[in-house]
């Protein structure tokens, strides 16, 4: 099994890479962070008996992606699975963020994801089943003021992947969308979970279980995975209440929580 992972040096990417390595899959990892990429490669190779190839790439740049694809093609690498993990968020209200920061949310979470999905899909192994995982978020279920662009970008992923799943059925490929609540991946995320108190703890999903179940569900051909009972209930409630009400309610909650950890640097979610 050849697996391609984007955002492989972030918290969720690393956890999934470890999970794949444990299962004996061969890995092709990419990320913008060169040091991070070589660290995770080193860690995996010391721990597991797997082949791990890495390539630094900025998925927002078509040129950079083309260079990476050239490496894949040179080695005639064909893939069985694509894990689209790369994504980011900037905290705070829309107008207070830098203009190019808010644009970057859509460029990375959406445009880059489309680019790499198209590229890897056309390099899938023929004659066997192909699997794609997209990382959306519980945030995709609601309009979320103060996380407006992020939540909308995750909504895009959810809708796109649901449609793509249908399109790809005749091609023997299946698409899973992961919609996690909080995942304690970076110190900043831990801070934001802390700031939300008990609520933060309750909506936080254990990373190691999310990683292994994501692979299980992808292989089974499921189309959506919302980890945690509470998160599943929340997603249903989100559908039942008028969207303006949800927005008003969430605005109140987030503005309180964010006072405690405003001005966070870039966090990979």
């Amino acid at each position: 099994m050849n697996v391609f992972i984007t955002g492989a040096s972030g918290g969720l990417g690393r956890a999934l890479a470890v999970e794949c390595a444990k299962r004996g899959y061969n890995l092709f990892l990419t990320d913008v962070d060169e040091d991070g990429l070589s660290s995770i490669k080193r860690g995996l190779e010391r721990r597991f008996n797997v082949t791990t190839a890495t390539c630094v790439s900025d998925l927002t740049s078509p040129q950079s992606v083309d260079e990476m694809l050239a490496v894949l093609d040179k080695h005639r690498l064909r893939l069985d699975m694509l894990l689209n993990i790369a994504g980011l968020d900037f905290e705070g209200s829309f107008i207070k963020r830098e203009r190019e920061e808010v644009v970057k949310i859509a460029t990375v979470n959406n445009a880059a994801t489309l680019r790499i999905t198209h590229a890897i899909l056309s390099r899938r192994k023929h004659g066997s089943r192909f699997f794609i995982v997209f990382v959306s978020s519980l945030a995709s279920m609601f309009p979320i003021p103060l996380k407006a662009a992020y939540a909308a970008s995750k909504r895009f992923i959810l809708d796109f992947s649901t449609s793509l799943n249908q399109e790809l059925k005749p091609l023997n490929a299946s698409v899973l969308t992961l919609c996690p609540g909080g995942l304690a991946t970076t110190p900043d995320v831990v801070k934001s979970i802390e700031a939300q108190g008990l609520w933060g703890g309750l909506t936080t999903n254990p990373l190691e279980l999310v990683a292994s179940r994501t692979l299980d569900k992808a292989l089974k051909g499921s189309c959506i995975y919302i980890p945690g009972l509470l998160n599943r209930v929340l997603s249903i409630i989100g559908k039942a209440i008028p969207r303006q009400w949800v927005a008003a309610l969430l605005y109140k909650r987030w503005s309180n929580a964010q006072k405690q950890w405003l001005n966070l640097p870039e966090t990979i979610l």
Binding site: R14, S39, R46, A184, E194, G197, G201, T204, P206
Partner: protein
């Protein structure tokens, strides 16, 4: 003057140990995770004792690459000063609420509480050798009653934060055992200090609401960190190296039956692979 390196010397047990050792005339090199915590600890120590011989370096010891980097810095520093290392106190530690990983994808408590010490000690071995030095591990009573999960030391199947902590402290104890098995005959000795329950903020840093509130309650029953500091000083002060292994309140104490030479050797093998080193090659 004897030089001692203490990791996690910016607060809690490590800080008080640094304070006591400088008072007793040792030269102390402390390590903390950030430049801010290091400079504030250094200032506080000098405030307590203006003639203290103390300096700090910062490194995120959770990352193995950082351990290697700081080891180089320490070696250069030691070379420039006394040329050897009298004692290495591996004390930096953390508690986590969730399965979180380092850049290598290693579980964080295992990586900081144990693996960092395993690698740092290896790197400083030549310096310890010159002075027939001592390695002191901060252990914990909680290492009793657990075993090493050999097939999944990072507990990546189903994480239990408390178990991860206990196991990391068991590994510290096994590591000290293994060091003695390999190097006691060559003059280097390793010890474990069991500090008991100590009133520090370890459970309140980067942890979730549950662990945070449990620790906030529990730590009130703990003693002051200056208490366990005495045991580290006791182990450093003996002219002839103490014959015991596991110490609590300056006295030998019982430790887990799981701490055997066989398990120690097994842990060495596993950790050598994870760090990319071979202890057998240091002498």
């Amino acid at each position: 003057m004897k030089t001692v390196v203490i990791t996690g010397a910016t607060s809690g047990i490590g800080f008080e140990t640094a304070s006591l050792l400088t008072e007793k005339g040792y030269e102390v090199i402390g390590i903390g995770s950030s430049a801010e915590s290091c400079s504030s600890a250094e200032k506080q120590l000098l405030l307590r004792n203006p003639s203290a011989q103390v300096r700090f370096y910062n490194a995120d010891l959770m990352q193995l690459s950082e351990v290697s980097r700081i080891a180089k810095v320490l070696k250069e520093d030691l070379e420039a000063h006394c040329g050897n290392l009298y004692a290495l106190i591996n004390n930096a530690g953390c508690v986590r609420s969730w399965y979180m990983t380092t850049a290598e994808g290693y579980e964080q408590q295992f990586s900081l509480n144990f693996l960092a010490a395993f690698l740092l000690t290896y790197e400083l071995m030549p310096m310890l050798k010159k002075s027939r030095g001592r390695v002191i591990m901060t252990g914990s009573k909680s290492h009793k009653g657990v075993n090493v999960h050999w097939d999944d030391v990072m507990l990546s199947k189903c994480y239990n934060p408390l178990l991860a902590y206990k196991q990391s402290k068991l590994c510290d104890t096994l590591f000290a055992k293994g060091l003695n098995d390999m190097f006691a005959a060559k003059g280097i000795r390793a010890y474990v200090v069991d500090p008991g329950l100590v009133k520090t903020d370890i459970g309140n840093r980067k942890t979730g609401a549950l662990v945070n509130s449990i620790w906030s309650f529990r730590k009130h029953f703990g003693k002051a960190p200056s208490e366990p500091a005495k045991t580290y000083a006791f182990l450093c002060e003996q002219q002839i190296e103490p014959k015991g292994f596991y110490y609590h309140n300056c006295r030998e104490n019982a430790y887990s039956k799981v701490v055997t030479s066989e398990n120690a050797a097994r842990l060495f093998k596993l950790s050598e692979r994870l760090c990319g080193i071979r202890y057998g090659e240091v002498f």
